[in-house]
């Protein structure tokens, strides 16, 4: 890692730590900062500890987890597919993971064992990633891949709608609808325990692909001639994306465009080598989603804004800007 990348990771880490504290501070009960820090480690009066640890901390941790997962997956997918527009949302991976989770909810698998929720979401994400990779090998053009992503996203939405349409229970429908908008509100440590191991494992795999992604920027054949085991790189990237994004989406619904934005935000600072983008995108992704989650709580407009709605409101114009900016290269 270069000095600049190290400094950036350090700075982003500090921002993230600040945001984590800020996130714990927000709520009905005002808690002074020193008490807050002590309560976070269980060293305050029981009521305050319960508020901070049981009510506020799961929300904070889940926002960081999903952000880190999306940021890391975005950086790795962009490097792997040589595509500046690649990320879980635009490629339909988030949608496929949502579909997996909806299937788990719809068929009552979650009632049997909560474990099925992240597993089905990860399977959905995995299938989408494998389809994308197969297409990318046939035709690596940036636009083709985005179009296939739109297709995968479309099928996922259609099937999710079908499930909601056929559902006999109107409450379940509104549950699913709200969940699809993406939020980390009212979560417990159960969700954290469900998602964290998979997200952690997935992130480790994504980080491990870094050096190989640099070599892959020379093209597949040249990368092979330099001794790179491309199959291993692909498997790591697919599994890493599926685990991290699948588990993240399973507990927070679809939060879009974080994976698209983060790598582009850190490129001006650390340069274009794909490996240097992964770690800053993970830390920055966590900070970005946490900041967005703090924002939805501070913006007072009737019912609380859903997290996924806010990231889409910011992310979609960013996507359009990128498309216009990259127009020449995309042809």
């Amino acid at each position: 890692m270069t000095l600049r990348a190290g400094l950036l990771c350090g700075a982003l880490g500090l921002v993230l730590a600040g945001l984590m504290l800020g996130s714990l501070a927000i709520g009905y009960v005002a808690i002074p900062l020193p008490t807050l820090v002590r309560a976070a480690f269980g060293l305050a009066d029981p009521a305050t500890v319960t508020i901070v640890q049981q009510l506020r901390m799961p929300r904070m941790l889940l926002a960081v987890l999903i952000g880190a997962a999306l940021g890391g997956a975005g950086a790795v997918l962009q490097g792997l597919l040589h595509n500046p527009l690649a990320e879980p949302q635009t490629l339909g991976i988030t949608g496929a993971a949502s579909l997996g989770a909806v299937i788990a909810l719809y068929f009552g698998l979650v009632g049997i064992m909560p474990f099925w929720l992240p597993v089905c979401a990860m399977i959905g994400a995995g299938i989408a990633t494998i389809i994308l990779l197969a297409v990318a090998r046939e035709n690596g053009a940036t636009l083709t891949l985005i179009l296939v992503g739109i297709g995968i996203g479309g099928i996922s939405i259609a099937l999710t709608s079908l499930a909601m349409n056929l559902s006999p229970n109107p409450w379940a429908v509104s549950e699913i609808a709200m969940w699809l908008l993406g939020s980390v509100r009212d979560r417990t440590f159960d969700e954290v325990r469900l998602a964290a191991p998979f997200v952690g494992l997935g992130l480790a795999m994504l980080v491990a692909t870094g050096p190989s992604l640099d070599i892959l920027s020379l093209g597949e054949e040249t990368a092979r001639s330099l001794g790179l085991n491309i199959t291993r790189t692909r498997v790591l990237a697919i599994l890493g994306t599926s685990l991290a994004v699948g588990a993240g989406v399973a507990v927070s619904g679809s939060v879009g465009f974080v994976g698209l934005m983060m790598p582009h935000l850190v490129r001006p600072i650390v340069g274009q080598l794909p490996s240097r983008l992964v770690l800053p995108s993970i830390i920055g992704g966590g900070a970005l989603v946490l900041a967005a989650d703090i924002a939805v709580r501070l913006i007072a407009v009737g019912p609380e804004l859903q997290l996924g709605v806010l990231t889409s409101l910011v992310g979609t114009p960013f996507f359009l800007y990128l498309v216009l900016h990259l127009r020449r290269q995309l042809r």
Binding site: H82, G210, P211, S212, D214, I215, L216, S217, L218, G219, E221, T222, R224, S225, L226, G227, L228, N229, G271, Q272, L273, P274, S275
Partner: protein, 266 residues
């Protein structure tokens, strides 16, 4: 001294056998041209020598060891490969691109090995690209980019260098420049194998030409012998103008004949 031997190699792509009965031996310090008409199997042979395609029969031997028995990285350290029309997918600095050529030497988790910086500087210096080191490769001219990509292949510092059509899309100035660089590399003791379409360049710069025809070796020998009037007619179905300039023999393909390349008229 590195020695490359192909022992009755056959290579399939999918179900079709593209190359059959390929046998030749080559030693360090030579520039060998792979020539022949379109579709004769030149690039397939280059990729086989580079270890990117696996033979279905026979062996590719590097220093008497079958290439298939070497690990990926061992093979990558012995044979450098420059693909046809190679591109770089991100706007990286030229030096970063050349540095990727050191990948086969990396120790452990993608960490640089001690000799890397020196090898990168040497590759930049030899290709005259030191001044371009900080420039974005995607914004270089075609000729400049070709030199940077050659520097990437040279940075591997492998005893064998395989290049597929290194001068295909270049103007005469840059084409001659690249051929002179390959010549120098051979003089330094590297075994250079280059797929070439330009017979005038092949005749002038190569020590030896291997002519491919329909997936087999149709001729193998000194350029002047292989590209004789008779050879041109048989392998390429063209007539040629043979001459000499500044004490170097040259050939200029002149007219296509009413027969298909690779068929002898007897």
């Amino acid at each position: 001294m590195t020695r490359l031997v192909l022992d009755r190699v056959a290579v399939p792509i999918g179900r079709e056998t593209i190359l059959r009965d390929i046998a030749f031996a080559a030693d360090a310090g030579a520039l060998i041209g792979l020539v022949g008409p379109n579709g004769a199997g030149k690039s397939t042979l280059a990729r086989t020598v580079a270890g990117l395609l696996a033979p279905s029969a026979g062996h590719v031997l590097v220093d008497d060891r079958p290439l298939a028995h070497l690990s990926r990285r061992e093979a990558a350290r012995r044979i450098a490969y420059l693909a046809q029309g190679d591109t770089v997918h991100w706007p990286l600095a030229a030096r970063s691109v050349v540095a990727l050529g050191r990948a086969p030497h990396a120790t452990g988790f993608g960490r640089a090995s001690p000799g890397d910086a020196a090898a990168i500087d040497r590759a930049l210096a030899r290709t005259g690209t030191a001044a371009l080191a900080d420039r974005d490769v995607t914004r270089l001219s075609g000729g400049e980019r070709a030199r940077v990509l050659l520097a990437r292949a040279l940075a591997v510092e492998a005893p064998i260098l395989v290049v597929d059509e290194p001068v295909g899309a270049l103007d005469p100035h840059h084409g001659l420049n690249i051929m002179a660089l390959l010549r120098e590399e051979a003089a330094r003791g590297t075994l250079v194998i280059a797929v070439l379409h330009d017979l005038a360049l092949a005749m002038r710069f190569c020590d030896r030409l291997i002519v491919m025809g329909a997936g087999r070796i149709a001729a193998d020998g000194r350029p002047a012998a292989v590209l004789s009037p008779d050879g041109l007619r048989r392998h390429y179905a063209v007539t040629g103008h043979h001459g000499a300039h500044e004490d170097e023999a040259f050939v200029l393909p002149w007219r296509s004949l009413a027969q298909k390349p690779g068929k002898s008229k007897e």
